[in-house]
Amino acid sequence: MSTSRVIDGVNVQTHYRDVEHQLSAAKQGIWLFMVTEILMFGGLFVGYALYHMRYPEMFAEGARFLDWRLGFINTLVLIFSSFTVVVGIYYCQANQMKKAAAALGVTILCGVIFMVIKYFEYTHKFHMGIYPGNMLDLAKLNHHLAEAGEPLIKSTNLGLYFGFYYCMSGLHGIHVILGMSLLGWCMFRALRGDFNANYYTAVDGVGIFWHIVDLVWIFLFPLLYLVG
């Protein structure tokens, strides 16, 4: 027994009137999910803002360790990747699936570049003893700073700042990896011939997810690297 029928080359499930109805429902579900993403990251932003107001000097001490140039490069990388994912959707609409897959591939590559830069940022901090929360090794960090001739850390709760740093950038990084996997799946499906000009909903949804990832970073970059 079939639960879908084909209209204009698209499998439309029987509880939908037509292709448009099915797509509208899918789109609405995708946007509802994106609201939860905004609220999740937003909660962390609110937490950061409030504790920043509570411990301004400590946050300034922590922000010293973030290199804005790496954050800047990552911002450009993600903006470009948002562009390539939207180019991918454009080619889906034009029924040029090989080009669409190529565009998605470039997007994944951008994600790789982002994560590589993130890897270097994290390992550099670990090397100095900067771990999240109460795992932060203040003695090791101050030893490093003393050797480099830089001012020592005066705060006693620096782990709070880096708790926020690792949680927010880490959660974002997890989303980048998730997005890359989903993009890979879409790329595979596009090459397999699952999509056509009337049906590429998966690419739509994954594309919007990727833009959320970019959106979060657009705010995360000034928060962590510039304002501190």
Partner: protein, 107 residues
């Protein structure tokens, strides 16, 4: 005909629009960095510039890349509500902290 109805809401943004938006986003990123480099002269207003520009970039991504400009009103309202509730979270939490009175122990 059913075929034309399917494409009614199927607005296809031309590639040139995407390229222009991407260009604007790149420019705004460089602008953010530029302002960051002169923040010493901005007397503490630098964060407003940084987040203000970020808000513009966010709008461009949402309106054009996420295609919200051409979406049905319902989806725009749904997504917008997320930000509104976020603002509410921030406002009420901030009010709580701001209105706290420090208690000093008499002991």
């Amino acid at each position: 005909m059913e075929h034309t109805e399917n494409h009614e809401k199927h607005h296809i943004t031309p590639l040139s629009v995407y390229i222009k938006v991407a260009g604007a986003l790149f420019f705004l990123t460089f602008l953010t960095i530029g302002i960051h480099s002169i923040r010493a002269y901005l007397a503490g207003t630098a964060p407003f510039f940084a987040f203000g520009i970020a808000a513009i970039k966010a709008y461009l991504v949402m309106a054009y890349f996420m295609h919200l400009k051409y979406e049905v009103v319902m989806n725009r309202v749904i997504f917008g509500l997320g930000f509104i509730f976020l603002a509410l979270l921030f406002a009420i939490t901030y009010l709580d902290i701001w209105s706290r009175v420090a208690l000093t122990s008499p002991l």
